[in-house]
Subunit: 299 residues, 2 copies
Amino acid sequence: MTVKGQLAALDWGTSSLRAALLDANGAVLDERSLGRGILSVAPGEFPTVFEAACGDWLRAGTPHAIVSGMAGSRQGWMEAPYCACPAGFAEIAAQLAWIERGRIGIVPGLSCEAGGAPDVMRGEETQILGALDLLDSDDALFVLPGTHSKWARVTQGRIESFSTFMTGEFYALLRKHSILARTLPETDGELDEQAFRRGVEQSLRGTGLLHNAFGVRTLSLFDRLAADALPSYLSGLVIGEELRAQELPAESVPVVVIGAPALTRRYEIALQALGASVQSLGSEATWRGLWRIAEVAPW
Amino acid sequence: MTVKGQLAALDWGTSSLRAALLDANGAVLDERSLGRGILSVAPGEFPTVFEAACGDWLRAGTPHAIVSGMAGSRQGWMEAPYCACPAGFAEIAAQLAWIERGRIGIVPGLSCEAGGAPDVMRGEETQILGALDLLDSDDALFVLPGTHSKWARVTQGRIESFSTFMTGEFYALLRKHSILARTLPETDGELDEQAFRRGVEQSLRGTGLLHNAFGVRTLSLFDRLAADALPSYLSGLVIGEELRAQELPAESVPVVVIGAPALTRRYEIALQALGASVQSLGSEATWRGLWRIAEVAPW
């Protein structure tokens, strides 16, 4: 059946919880953000936090709530077993895990087998399918940059396969805990686009990050790159290393980057240097994805 | 001139200081190790630590002392400017930095230009040339595994070029500071050769460490690799990633691995899987290198 009336949509991740009240057409009526990611929620405390996030909407007559993200992991509210790829709206909606049948459902993450090891996502599947709907497209390559970037291939409206890249985490490790921490200035400052591009190009040469990261130190040692430019150069190196591992599609298939503008901008610069046609989308994709999953879910 | 009689040879690195008294033929008469790497030595305190390491040998008539390693860096005892590649015994010996002319010399590190950034080494040049002498060889590819692994090509007795790979440091970063720290057991335990080989092979497939490191988590999540095997698998991933970046020479040219047996063993396993002919050497290469540099130095 389809959702009647409003929907409480929750994006409940590791470090934050966002909630939106959507109308019958998926438009956002109200939006909230709580600093209550699952890492800050004790077992047993999930119903209380859920109540704080959207209890008033449900009491006022909103019939359904749907939750995506790490709340469906083993460390979350209730484990929603991974749905195997390929998967689209129908497969995901059919596998909602029910906190309360017909009332509160959790979106399952996706799993796939990719060259030697399984891969998983939780939350990104909702953003990807939402973006697909917003773009009115059936085929695209998606990138969701972040601590753990996800690259996903969508064909005929379904996520065929995807891969995780620990790009943001590698940047933070090198930035804060490696020998480079002594070379880099204390704060990152504004993006230096030229230094960033230089880092991307250096990675695309192919010697690998294990070697190129050391170059941050030597370029500084030999005064070949100003201290202020080093964080942007290092960012270019890790993002370039991520791009080096991708098979980019023909120009007719768009590469869609979903994320916050400060980060998607970097991927736009890097991808355009590779001749890809890039589109960027923000968090609106999440609400659209949750609304469309709810629309086909067996409430 | 050649060294008359004995030589005090010092390998003074970041975290330790080793000293050997060598006879006129380069044989080790006495050997010491002090926990006084340059990180633990305050500026101005170097002469005192030097005296503690080998002052008695010099007072007893040993005419010369020679020092390699980070003691010659900007943060060390006295900066010994980098010697440019290609460099062999003659070039290095001609550029000793003198703490006391004719009596105490510091071996310069090497620099080279390698694809977009400079590269540097300090101490490894002495080990490489010493190993070359021990092996009575003129051409070889050298690997010195460690926190920052060095790969060096030697042709006609001179180091032509080299590259640094932050392999050991990446392992430690992922081991201790990344999300994988939660998945891995508290201690590394014995090397699990099968898991190590599997990690090497996974890296050689070419998707890159940013992706493969995430596989440590998912292989564990899906019970596809036992917790005890994960550190060996991760070690295989990072060393495999280092190997993936190398152009290995024809089988007639040996790959020489210099280092402690626990580490060289891993490189032997990985390199043999690639069909390379491998030889391993330990710290004897350092003393031979220092002795041969001293032999041609202009005391």
